[in-house]
Symmetry: C2
Subunit: 452 residues, 2 copies
Amino acid sequence: MEASTIEQLEQELRRAIAGRRPEAVAEALRAIPGEELYRVLMSLSDNGLSVTFALLGAEGAAKVFERMDAAQAAEVLHRFSLAQAADILEEMAPDDAADVVEELDPLTAEGILVEMHQEEAQDIRELMGYRPDSAGGIMTPAYVAVSPNLTAGEVLRAVQRLAEEAETVYYVYVVDEADRLQGVLSLRDIVLKPRKTPVTEIMNRDVARVRADDDQELAARLLSERRLLAIPVVDAEDRLLGIITADDVADVLQEEATEDIERLGGSQPLEVPYMHAGVAQLVRKRVGWLLLLFVAGAYTSNVLAHFEGTLSQVVELAFFIPLLIGTGGNVGSQIVTTLVRAMAVGELGFPDVLRVIRKELVVGLFLGGVMAAATLIRAATLHVSLDVGLAVAVAALFIVLWSALVASILPLTLRRLRADPAVVSAPLITTLVDGTGLIIYFTIANLLLDVT
Amino acid sequence: MEASTIEQLEQELRRAIAGRRPEAVAEALRAIPGEELYRVLMSLSDNGLSVTFALLGAEGAAKVFERMDAAQAAEVLHRFSLAQAADILEEMAPDDAADVVEELDPLTAEGILVEMHQEEAQDIRELMGYRPDSAGGIMTPAYVAVSPNLTAGEVLRAVQRLAEEAETVYYVYVVDEADRLQGVLSLRDIVLKPRKTPVTEIMNRDVARVRADDDQELAARLLSERRLLAIPVVDAEDRLLGIITADDVADVLQEEATEDIERLGGSQPLEVPYMHAGVAQLVRKRVGWLLLLFVAGAYTSNVLAHFEGTLSQVVELAFFIPLLIGTGGNVGSQIVTTLVRAMAVGELGFPDVLRVIRKELVVGLFLGGVMAAATLIRAATLHVSLDVGLAVAVAALFIVLWSALVASILPLTLRRLRADPAVVSAPLITTLVDGTGLIIYFTIANLLLDVT
């Protein structure tokens, strides 16, 4: 969105607040994109914020909070009184509310929960008991469930009664007296069938479901692959605990992609939005990998020390060190990121390892040839001897091939060992092929050049 | 999923096909995850495949095809006769069918379209006219639209009549006689209100919409942020052309994340699943960046040639070259990937640039201190002189700081210039700080050591 449009919307919002016009306030807020809401709300004065709340009411405010990232919503919520915050959280979807409460500092959170109606507070406490990245952690208890003894008409009346409170009424779950999941009805089926039809005749008994302790990614995958609007979450005895709705899929997929990208960049996932991460947190998430990569790369010094004789006889060889190991690292980085992503979206698995290696070696042969030619040209422009130029070019070819081999094998093998393949980051593969690349380089130089 | 489970499902499928049991075939296929369907179907004999089709019918087969990636579905479709393929495509959602037809070779595609009913073929041809990554490219024309003159009861009857054909009946769009979008009704509202209520009283006039030529990412963002089940696609005159349903959001987000990851790894996005990319395609997507990075890194040789005097006097300095520039590259890669991702999910923009720089420089000070200490220890274990060790350690600190500065500025600035920030890949930042890192290193070495 254009910066000017945002500024216009902000001005409209401020005017609507100043004029005490509830409709205009709601409309201006609706038009502001979710990722800008935090900044806009935080820029309001305490007074402006409390007028906004008064104009929107708890329900309207809840809608605004649901559009913000949980960490950002928590920060804005901190600026309200405990009672106001409690009113807003009560009106939010319980799963979103639980996410926000988890981001509050524990004392404030407890203070707000005590202010809330007992039932809503209880829902939130239960949701907070699950790991945030589990199916239980993102489910909502606001579903509609009916007994299998009803008819379509009776279910429709139940839906009409419960519609206010439910997260979705498009799926109605059928449970027995012990709350065990028996089937699912879509509102579409309920509306299409004659009113007297028994539920057992129209319900679909083959219901995809997840366990509360399953990973949220599994729920997101099933929802997206089977094109469902919601998926039920059950306990070990198949009792219905809640549902995960399709609108959570996007958040889950974004979160998982962000974690993979941060890992591929060579740090531990931040787990919070970048602007909310403090210096200490950033240092902590990065320093471990930096040291590990340093240690993994430390033997490059030994390799160079070992070839000190060659190096001091033909100092020109040193000129090409960064370029050669850089190229090896670049090739490895291209392959590793592509493979890790293909595995993350389920296109690739360990059984494909031989096909991947074969393909990447053929690709490497072409790329290595091109890079060897480029290296030869570079050597000529530096006016080094032809011998040295040839040695560097041959080394470029072999380094590219070696890098392709290592980069094809590593991520797939890690998957096989049940480790996250994204730990083979671009920096890690670069570091791994640095030292081995030097060995290849100097071995070829020793063979081709007249070194004693 | 465990390999053994997949094998069991495959065996069940083969037994069900051999026994000509339609229900069992459908069930076995439903249980097989989407990403395995291609492999399983391709492993069947021509005869097995045609029996499967006969047992499932075109509608059942269409459901299976909708669960596959378009490129994979196209390959499987190639094994059917033109008439069978046409029957299957007719039963698929038009947007999914258009995606598959785009992956077929043009002659086969034309042959199949000619075999199809004219109306369905027309829908597919129209959808193929839009860029595949535009809103028009992923929309479906299978929506329900009504006139504003109806009542809730009349709309419900229209929904019951159209339910078979529509992609979703949960949203009903209200259009005037020129097809211009006037509002939207949810099935929930229609069911909850008395049957005599006029549409104009219950419809929501504030409808989020996208233009057919908007990017698919915008549609996905709006759908996910506003938690909609579908979003209407209109032309420049606001005429309703189609809808994009929430189940497409996951595909769009995955696709965009994949492109970003491939760019961050230093190649152009593949645009097809990795296993479908041929050698020529992989070479083409990678060679450009490799050569560009080579050229960008070529000056490292000039830097080293310039400092040849220093290098030949203190050959030990060469030992630390890969380690120092590697560390600089790693720090840059950590920062760049985190920032690019934060921008992609809308957490960060150019106005934050000063805050980002300040934060990353403070983080860099800590990390640089740690890395300087690590370098000092490494120098001691290599038994180089204390002078050299100190020079290397000081260089490590400054290289980390420099790398942090470059990596914080570049992606945000590119965004500002309306370029894709993901082109600042891990390999690019590594290459950029390689040469400048060497200049820092040798300048410090010249200052601290007694070099003539």
